[in-house]
Symmetry: C2
Subunit: 770 residues, 2 copies
């Protein structure tokens, strides 16, 4: 754990004191977003120190054709780069002619940042003494509107403290931006038009190659001591920027304020020729409300989200802050409003990884969205994959599969594979399993079979076909094997018979078979329609069964455990505890080959199988595998600690579960993996939610019924969460000696607590002693 500078607080992320070494980390941690766009917490004014400038628009990317030396046949066409978008938050500030720049100020005192998660805004305040000895007090507040998701607002206030000062606000737009991760400062945006009128400016730009058209815009207004003043700005516009200049002779102790409204209109939502008029429309609405009213709306919108999604933890402020940070960031990234979007692993906080959609969505995020939003949101996420089925079939064809076999991409923006390392795109095929599992999980949780019979069955068939064709027969083993894969543990590449992959492959085929039977018998017209489309013969089905009945799983008699892959026991089996701390994190200290031949596990792999298919194994089996694999696990993937937390809780190892919980919930806040500068780990935050609800709450759905086995870490007095289960909201509060259940809705439901049935009626709190 490195950066222990975030102040513990129940509802806010707070940093106090200005430290240039923390700027990039804080830019990540204080990021804001509204599902449609988002930004790193870059300063509005100039900053000449080390900074990572980032502003991102959902669904906008660039197809990078970068190639390494010896390109392999069948590689994807491009890598989808997450693009830094034109900057609309910039406000240069001049004080008596000197540009305000915290990197060059004589002193910066009382610096404080706050990301208020309850209300959805970011603020910053400080007192700075410039080189010209003018001392000023600054306070800024910024938010991206949830209600009007094309717009954000900034309030920037300055008070000269020691003398009168000429202060100039220079709000600007800039489309001449680059990407942090570009090799040679390449440009990815073409500016089409820069225009301005009155206090408004607009830049129309389009992305190179992909031709996404956007308009970035701003409108500003200035105030003295809270009263509007009309200043005719100086305007400077060039080929990719527009700057307005509002100067004022501010007396000592007076407050000079600018309100800047800005944002993006994009051609996903408007015709590309109407982007400026769409921008004018949204500016009209925003400025009519004004900064304060918009902020009030923002607070209400966040109150609605928290009402359903909040998790409280009493007695452990860091744990409380952690879970709220996770829930907050998930909601900043994806709200389920637009079914064309998905949940990028870095959300709107950085560029790394590229693409927007990973197996993270199905394996980690769906449970969170299913339980804290309307069930339609989860269904949207499933339909996103149905809409990409054709592309998944094309993708499999590129790799030599046929007959409708579908391989979903490892990384995608629009259904096409858009990552470019063979060991990932060609071999990390287990992702196909998670997509089938999410269908199962959705049906298990919601009871809604409509998706499967209407669409999902086609997805399941495409996936089953892939697994059937991907398995090959080993005469040596007299079993079906799956060779050359990368499992969830990406610290192994091109291994044979990864247990997790083989297991989920077998399960996928069986689950497809089961649903083929079910749709055939219960929904004959759907069945006929689908069969006409997919042309599935009995002989093909028999081949599927042959594969699932004879799948090989590597097993060690000596340790009585399934092996992560063939040959795992040939490694030098030194546990992480016995590995010199100076070698960690190994992904920063070791070369790739060394990582590959080590036994170290990046994230749950065999144990991921035990997580998904918990019911297939006894607790003793779980414990044996947990005790075998966890000691080799370095948890250098953000997706790792949550699964281990849930399993530790299940095994009654509360101290370990608690530590994993802290690690997942405060992964970024405390920068466990020394990389928070690059952005936040958004998708794993849903895993944090699971580690409370499934781990400590012990929630499961079995036979259409919610089950709970509540446990509470010693460090906590109580914790509570709500779940939306089939249209009714159940609130669970777990304390040291009791668990309370309370139901919103209209009809009673039966649940099972610690294996005993319990009926909960609406508005009738039931308290169970433990």
């Amino acid at each position: 754990m490195n950066q222990d500078y975030i102040k513990p607080d129940n509802w806010s992320i707070i940093e106090e004191g200005f430290d240039i070494k923390r700027v990039k980390s804080s830019e990540s941690l204080f990021s804001i977003g509204n599902g449609a766009m988002g930004q790193r917490a870059n300063f509005e004014e100039e900053y000449s120190g080390a900074t990572f400038q980032g502003s991102y628009i959902a669904g906008v990317y660039y197809p990078d054709k970068t190639r390494v030396g010896w390109w392999k046949n069948g590689y994807p066409e491009y890598f989808a780069k997450v693009l830094n978008a034109p900057n609309w938050i910039g406000i240069k500030v001049y004080v008596n002619g000197e540009s305000l720049d915290l990197f060059t100020c004589k002193t910066v005192e009382n610096f404080k940042r706050e990301l208020n998660m309850k209300e959805g805004w970011l603020s910053r305040s400080f007192e700075a003494t410039l080189q010209n000895n003018t001392k000023i007090d600054v306070k800024t507040t910024r938010f991206l509107s949830l209600d009007l998701d094309e717009v954000g607002a900034i309030q920037y206030e300055i008070i000269p403290l020691n003398k009168d000062a000429e202060i100039t606000f220079k709000p600007y737009l800039d489309s001449g931006i680059t990407n942090e991760d570009s090799n040679w400062d390449d440009k990815f945006w073409d500016t089409i038009n820069v225009c301005h009128k009155n206090h408004q400016a607009f830049i129309e730009a389009k992305t190179m190659k992909t031709d996404f058209h956007i308009c970035t815009f701003m409108e500003s207004k200035v105030f003295i001591n809270g009263k509007s003043v009309l200043i005719e700005p100086n305007i400077k516009a060039d080929s990719n920027s527009a700057t307005f200049s509002y100067s004022y002779q501010v007396k000592k102790s007076e407050t000079y304020t600018i309100h800047k409204f800005g944002g993006y209109t994009v051609d996903r939502n408007h015709h590309k020729t109407k982007l400026v008029s769409a921008a004018k429309n949204v500016l009209k609405i925003a400025t009519k409300k004004g900064f304060n009213q918009l902020l009030d709306d923002q607070k209400k919108a966040w109150a609605n989200i928290w009402d359903m999604a909040d998790i409280t933890i009493s007695g452990d402020i860091k744990a409380q802050q952690g879970i709220r940070f996770n829930i907050f960031q998930l909601n900043q990234t994806y709200l389920g409003k637009d079914s064309r979007l998905n949940i990028g692993p870095k959300g709107f906080t950085g560029e790394k990884y590229g693409g927007s959609t990973y197996w993270d969505t199905e394996a980690y995020c769906i449970p969170f969205y299913m339980a804290t939003k309307d069930q339609k949101v989860a269904k949207n996420l499933l339909e996103y994959r149905y809409n990409h089925l054709e592309k998944a079939i094309e993708n499999a064809e590129k790799l030599g599969f046929k007959n409708g076999a579908a391989l979903y991409p490892m990384v995608t923006m629009n259904g096409e594979e858009c990552h470019n390392e063979w060991e990932i795109t060609f071999e990390e095929i287990h992702r196909n399993g998670a997509i089938a599992f999410a269908i199962y999980n959705y049906h298990r949780y919601t009871g809604d079979y409509s998706y499967i019979k209407e669409k999902g069955l086609e997805v399941l068939i495409g996936i089953a076909r892939f697994w059937h064709q991907r398995a090959t027969f080993s005469t040596d083993k007299n079993k079906y094997v799956i060779l050359g894969v990368t499992g969830p543990n990406e610290y192994e590449n091109n291994v044979n018979n990864n247990f997790y992959t083989n297991y989920i492959a077998k399960w996928c085929i069986n689950y497809a078979l089961e649903n083929i039977d079910k749709v055939a018998s219960e929904f004959p017209s759907d069945f006929t329609r689908i069969m006409n489309k997919v042309k599935l013969s009995n002989s093909e089905l028999n081949e599927w069964k042959e594969v699932t009945d004879n799948m090989y799983f590597p097993f060690s008699e000596k340790y009585n455990v399934y092996l992560q892959q063939d040959g795992f026991l040939d490694k030098e089996l030194i546990t992480v505890a016995n590995l010199d701390k100076s070698q960690r994190p190994i992904n920063q200290k070791w070369s790739w080959d060394r990582i590959l031949r080590s036994p170290y596990i990046k994230q749950a792999d065999t144990l991921q199988g035990f997580y998904f298919f918990e019911d297939h194994f006894s607790d003793e089996e779980l414990e044996r595998h947990f005790d075998f694999y966890e000691p080799f696990t370095v948890h250098e993937s953000s997706l790792s600690p949550c699964v281990h937390s849930i399993q530790a809780a299940k095994l009654g190892r509360m101290e370990q579960a608690y530590n994993f919980y802290l690690r997942t919930s405060r992964l970024d806040l405390d920068d466990y993996n020394k990389e928070v500068e690059e952005g936040l780990h958004i998708t794993s935050m849903a895993g944090t939610w699971m580690s409370i609800v499934e781990g400590f709450g012990g929630m499961r759905v079995k036979n259409n019924t919610l089950h709970f086995e509540p446990k509470i870490p010693e460090q906590w007095n109580s914790f509570s969460f709500k779940v939306n289960f089939r249209g009714q909201v159940l609130k669970i509060e777990v304390s040291k000696n009791k668990t309370d259940f309370e139901l919103e809705g209209i009809k009673s439901i039966q649940i099972v607590v610690n294996n005993k049935p319990l009926v909960i009626s609406p508005k009738n709190l039931i308290s169970l002693k433990s």
Copy 2:
């Protein structure tokens, strides 16, 4: 086999008839070079059809920092791109105002290209009718001087056939070139200065990032009917080109000729401020001699090379043409004059692969250069690696090795690793073995121990240290294992216990131990000097022994063969003969993952071990392994057929040996792998030489004595070759019923033929009946 358009000829490569589909292939096949520079056979005049323009300078490269999506820790800094160099061969030709362009001419008749290998020149002739109906006869001759290796010369002759014509020659220099393999037409050259005086022009340019300075230059002279005419040219120069224009009213049937001299001076040989004056000097020498004298010198220089290096084959013109093409190209690429250079896999014929030095040099090329040149050339190649030892140690340190362990780069220009795929650079570590083997091979062949005791032992120790550290102990197997490697068969990545790698690792350590003992006892002062440097303790030596004594080799009891790697038998073992032809070559038809999980072998892997360490195995073992592995071998590496040809010959399978011979010797001429457009496979051409000398000639060196077991393919009447063995030249001619031996030199030597000793005296032909 695709492109069966090269006319069979003993001494020339000849193409007749103009076919736009063959232009890029012919540009490769007719490439010329002189060890210092080389060019694809691009036309001098304009050509608007599909072409791959390439002119290359030895040792000049660009550090490409292209990165794929998720970069791994420890990756090399750059990929060394082979750079297309400024063009000096261009001569635009205008006939009555129309640019001569074979792509747009009305007709092109009697088109012929000839690469005369005996004399080292390239010519082209044709009759063309332009759109303006002028019909012309054209003949060009071009060569790169072996004696003056900074200069080349072109003679371009035109005769108007049907009418008088104004003909303009526009010889030019152009540094505004790009690379065929660049993603977005990036530039890699900065032009510094363009200047001209009288009939000379010079462009000074430097490579971006690497700052290699070169001067490209030209001087021209025109003639009518062989008589010099003084035309004051029009001159046009811009920021990266200079064009001279020589117009003349040529009468029907008159011959208008231009001689153009051009080339490069480079800062490897001159101070960067003296490049223009160096160019003037070399131009002075060249123009003083004139085109014809230079060409005569060229013929003599090639005659000297052929005198030693020629292999004759009688009765099989295609086989004869093939071997001469191979010997010719090797000598065009590397002559052993400059110990800072090495033998690039594509020579001067293309850009693919990058870098200049691969294990090809040690595993394939050294025997050729050892036997056909002065022994100093082979020693230079060994010293090249000694000079890079420090960088090899640094490279190993980057990967976590310590204490002087050395890992030579897979691809290099200056000792640094300069390729950027982890499965190659981090894992294809067997290259280290070939570097040690070459030391052994040099000593075995030359009897010269000076390199080992002076320098080589340090290399052997660094390599042994690497292998010792790279092997890890498997408690499961109770043996040392080598995990996560790529063997010579690059169609497997990240495999465990590749037989070849484990075997050569063990051998390297043993060979180092043996030489440590030998130097210690025979050269104590060298020993002390080296030990002071490398600090080798007895405990370290004991650890080495522990590893070699307990190295694991995967073995199948069922097949009684060593396995290429762990798990090889899990593959679907369908032989190449049973693979649909439409699937070949698999590297163009299959995605990488499919190749990896298939049993198909790109080039000798286990069999490469049987080749290097032939004496360690019985003929029965060789036969069993050959019969097990060859049927799965697709020979999609140029380095594959030669080893198999040698082994087939050893096993007495002459038909198979012959077919492999044709495949290696005519790999590019007949374009077996459908990629000759990209350039030639230079380093494997040394393998062709081996397949005659070691395969059919059965030449081996055992106990300081040359052994032969001559065999001749049924298709041949006889074949002959010469070898320089320890300062004397032995010529061997094998016929169907006898073998002749003839010795140049001053003292008799004893050789062994078919296991019987035989003394050969100088100038005394001995004929053995077979």
